[in-house]
Symmetry: C2
Subunit: 291 residues, 2 copies
């Protein structure tokens, strides 16, 4: 399918580029998001032979701070395994975008553009655009399932801030996703500087409202079970202060949540870590997506 | 091995970073190049268990225009296969670097910094620094083989301008390399705009001196045989004007040079193409490096 032909498929979705990769197509799209009130881009990998007659299940990938839809697409090496397993990869941006979208006053990397934290903001000036939770759970799946050869089977994964997003979204939408995994997730934003800064601005100072976006709190509150795999590098410089994997371990132990949480010796926070284990994560998801 | 410990190993080589990847280490080094008269950085992947007692063979990777040592390291997904096969990856920069190094007057992407074309310049003001041929064939192998757990078995590969570099360097140093491969190589710089621009500046106007850096001319001149694999995407926008794979095919046919030259349907010039086929290239090299 040429870019021109695909452009004509829909007025709702514009194909920006389409590149062959492992026999499938790595595509980038643009659309006007009603939920985020801005124009958004996202990337999709479609495995070989995906078609309207043979739609495929999808793994959603949520990226971390400072990323957009390109980091995972270019660095994780996930397409090889997705091609083999017959899985689509849906790779959204990490925040609303555009000149109208407010950013951190200091343009810090951990808040504002590139740092949407996958929540629905309730505070000015953020709430008009920063509605990433609804974008990922409602608008984006609807959009891609209307226009691309996808089934309604979905799994979700992510890294760091995106690991937080994947866990929270899966724990609150266990009928919507078959399985969840995370690399180096922020397991409890309420208990780390990145999360406290972001939640204070996006959600205001009432911490009881923060719990709906905190994986540890959701497990303590009795979230339904779904298959969960977490990998954390032991040499990750953010582990002690920001990620705090042990809080998730403790909550899962105390509340008998059956997660598999693994420490990978010597690995750091980079895409070299993700690349090293993405195959295991995709095979994990494939078991449930295709089961 | 910590970065601090490794820093102390040598005054000749400084370890800038070391990140675990597929059980091995992805390292970046810095050194003062005598050949290039500047400070250079390069990257190395060392597979698991490489040690002074168990040194490993190496595949050199030469990158294309505008690249440095990071593009292949982060985007090709080569470490997975290198780890499995027990191969090191040696990934140099594409030109001399630093404020003293002259660049294209217009800072064009196809000449000067990031565009060394893997030759030894004979012209002012380029010749003081632009000696990439000697750097890749002599200085860098000597340096890494003195300090890292490598055997003296070497293969070489590259992309685009780096595919040109790999082919030329292998054809002129068949005792030095066991095998050569290339993605989307500039097969005859003398016959394309990128090459003519670069060779005119670096080598002067006497075209008889250009032939030593032109793969097609080297094959016509009876270069010794070594195992050669070339992949070219059929949807590569540079194929017709710059890469001209058919010139290499014709030369190999006419002079009975036993190369395997493949067109890959629908693939473009990007790292998505390289990622899709790097495994086959590394397995090709492993047959000769370990044979």
């Amino acid at each position: 399918m040429s870019a021109q032909a695909a452009n004509d498929l829909s007025t709702e979705l514009t194909l920006l580029s389409s590149v062959r990769c492992f026999g499938g197509q790595q595509n980038q799209y643009q659309h006007d998001s009603k939920v985020l009130n801005c124009t958004m881009q996202f990337s999709v990998y479609l495995p070989p032979n995906a078609s309207a007659e043979k739609p495929v299940p999808a793994v959603y990938w949520l990226s971390g701070l400072t990323c957009n839809d390109q980091n995972f697409s270019t660095k994780a090496g996930a397409q090889r395994v997705a091609a083999e397993l017959g899985l689509a990869l849906i790779i959204p941006d990490t925040s609303p975008r555009g000149e109208d979208v407010p950013d951190d006053l200091d343009a810090a990397y951990d808040f504002g553009l590139g740092a949407g934290f996958y929540l629905n903001s309730t505070q000015e000036p953020w709430q008009k655009h920063y509605q990433m939770y609804d974008y990922i759970t409602r608008e984006l799946p609807g959009l891609v399932e209307r226009h691309l050869p996808l089934t309604d089977k979905r799994a979700i994964s992510g890294h760091s801030m995106g690991g937080h997003g994947a866990l929270v979204i899966a724990l609150r939408n266990t009928f919507h996703f078959t399985s969840v995994s995370a690399f180096s997730p922020i397991v409890s934003p309420m208990e780390c500087p990145w999360g406290v800064k972001a939640f204070s601005h996006y959600l205001g100072e009432d911490r009881s409202l923060w719990k709906q976006y905190d994986s540890v709190e959701l497990i303590r509150a009795g979230a339904p079970h779904l298959p969960m795999l977490v990998d954390q590098g032991s040499a990750d410089g953010f582990l002690a202060e920001q990620l705090k994997t042990e809080l998730l371990e403790t909550a899962c132990n105390n509340f008998e949540y059956p997660a598999e949480i693994r420490y990978q010796e010597g690995y750091d926070h980079s895409y070299y870590f993700i690349a090293s284990f993405i195959e295991e994560h995709l095979r994990f998801h494939a078991r449930y997506l295709k089961g």
